[in-house]
């Protein structure tokens, strides 16, 4: 007796369901196997990075992660200009300071050599004398070294 078209269709659908089931099971099993193989092949270790790379993976400890992120952010940042550009300034009246707010030791502007190492004493309790004329410290020299 010939099979009706509807029975043939049902049988085909049933075969497809079985095939799908096997495919899904196979995929799950395959994924597990591959994961296991990969884990064996590439065991965990300390993450290092090369100097030329900008990508950085932080370590496991939360504190280290934060510090790493800060460092990584600094590393990514380019050279940044100052918040305010330098201003022109006349060479200030030179006053070589003495700790404690006094202006007792004034140094002429022509002092061309660095001052010797001088012990600096803590500030005295007594108020500093009031200076009448505005004075400013000698400029600090920026030059090649």
């Amino acid at each position: 007796m010939p099979r009706t078209p509807s029975k043939a269709r049902d049988a085909a659908l049933a075969r497809m369901r079985r095939i799908n089931g096997w495919l899904i099971a196979g995929a799950v099993l395959g994924t597990g196997l591959l994961t296991d193989v990969a884990a064996q092949a590439f065991p965990g270790g300390t993450i290092t990075r090369r100097a030329g790379s900008l990508s950085a993976t932080p370590s496991s400890a939360a504190q280290t992660v934060t510090a790493d992120r800060r460092r990584a952010a600094r590393r990514r940042a380019g050279l940044t200009p100052p918040a305010e550009a330098p201003r022109a300034r006349h060479r200030p009246q030179v006053v070589e300071p003495v700790a404690g707010g006094s202006t007792a030791a004034a140094t002429p502007a022509s002092a061309a050599t660095p001052a010797p190492v001088t012990p600096v004493t803590p500030a005295p309790v007594a108020p500093a004398p009031v200076v009448q004329a505005p004075v400013a410290p000698a400029a600090v020299v920026s030059g090649g070294s």
């Binding site: 300390t46 590393r75 200009p81 108020p127 200076v131 004075v135 070294s145």
Partner: protein, 342 residues
């Protein structure tokens, strides 16, 4: 406490001493903090010296240099200094290269510069090269023959760092010289430490590389820019004021010496391993930190003419002085009121 404007102007205090083979200037806006501030700066500089000096056989840097080719533990400070140097290399396309340690030694700068300036009695074979003074002139600073072995591949891209635990591996045959950036890093760290501990505004200068932290001295921190940091504020140059950040100057007129019949200086071209052919006598840059200023000023000397466009593009206020005395002011650097360049 600052009582009046006129008194404000005298509340600062300054201390000067020698460290890291150069001159330290510490200035605080509140004079009463100077003793504490100096102890903090000294501690910071001692830490940098024992970690990053290439002139100390017992420094951590020398231990790393001696272990090139394999991973070795590193202190967080060395790692920070190394990462600062590697950042400099990345941001300058390798113009500021920390792996020129071998080249600078081959060039003759193998010991603290004070030993070149004041050589002790030594057998001829061990006698250091002779340091040159400023009056020896600039004309002949271009070495004409290659330094044998100096052009070893700059391996900064191959340096590996590890955070946990901190460690580093240098490629075999590479020697680090962190001098260019470690000094600036020390200035930044010292200034931050003083401000954090005392709350005062502070300026720290290490051989002319200047870092600031906290509120500026009234009217800004006065800085005189010139060729040699050992010159006084009357030397030819320009006086400016900054309210924060850092300023650094690189110069081909200082730290020069004779190697045989050749005049050398301390800024090397990574592509040749030789001292840079001077286009700029002095390059000064202001930036958000002393490290950034130092990176840019050193790179400018290495780059030569192309530094003009590079610094302008980065919007870094800069002052470049050519070997002929021509002055170039870039990216908002103020006009020179004195214009008394030699």
């Amino acid at each position: 406490m600052l009582a009046s404007p006129s008194r404000c102007a005298t509340e600062f205090a300054t201390a000067r001493w020698d460290a890291l083979g150069t001159t330290v200037v510490l200035r605080v806006a509140r004079a009463s903090t100077i003793v504490h501030a100096r102890s903090l700066v000294e501690a910071e500089l001692a830490a940098i010296d024992s970690t990053c000096s290439r002139f100390r056989a017992d420094s951590e840097l020398e231990r790393v240099n001696a272990s090139a080719g394999r991973f070795i533990d590193a202190s967080p400070l060395l790692l920070e200094a190394l990462e600062t140097a590697l950042r400099a290399a990345r941001l300058t396309g390798g113009a500021v290269d920390p792996t020129l340690g071998e080249a600078i030694m081959l060039a003759g700068y193998s010991r603290d510069f004070s030993e070149l300036e004041h050589p002790r009695d030594a057998p001829a074979a061990d006698r250091p090269p002779r340091a040159l003074a400023a009056e020896d002139g600039l004309a002949s600073t271009v070495p004409c023959r290659p330094i044998r072995g100096a052009r070893r591949a700059s391996g900064w891209k191959l340096i590996e760092t590890r955070q946990d635990p901190p460690g580093v591996r240098l490629p075999a045959g590479v020697r680090l010289d962190l001098g260019a950036t470690a000094k600036a890093l020390a200035a930044d760290r010292a200034a931050a430490a003083v401000h954090e501990a005392t709350g005062t505004g502070v300026l720290v200068s290490l051989g002319g590389d200047i870092a600031t932290a906290g509120p500026p001295y009234e009217g800004g921190w006065a800085i005189h820019v010139t060729d040699d940091h050992r010159a006084g504020p009357d030397a030819p140059g320009q006086t400016i004021a900054i309210s924060g950040g850092g300023v650094a100057t690189s110069s081909t007129t200082v730290r020069r010496w004779l190697q045989g019949d050749r005049v050398m200086h301390h800024i090397l071209d990574p592509t040749t391993g030789q001292p840079v052919r001077p286009v700029w006598r002095t390059a000064t840059v202001a930036a958000s930190s002393c490290v950034d200023a130092n990176i840019a000023s050193t790179a400018a000397v290495v780059q030569g003419r192309s530094a003009l466009a590079w610094l302008s593009e980065l919007k870094l206020p800069s002052r470049l002085v050519g070997v002929a005395g021509d002055v170039h002011l870039l990216a908002g650097w103020p006009q020179d009121r004195s214009s008394s360049e030699r």
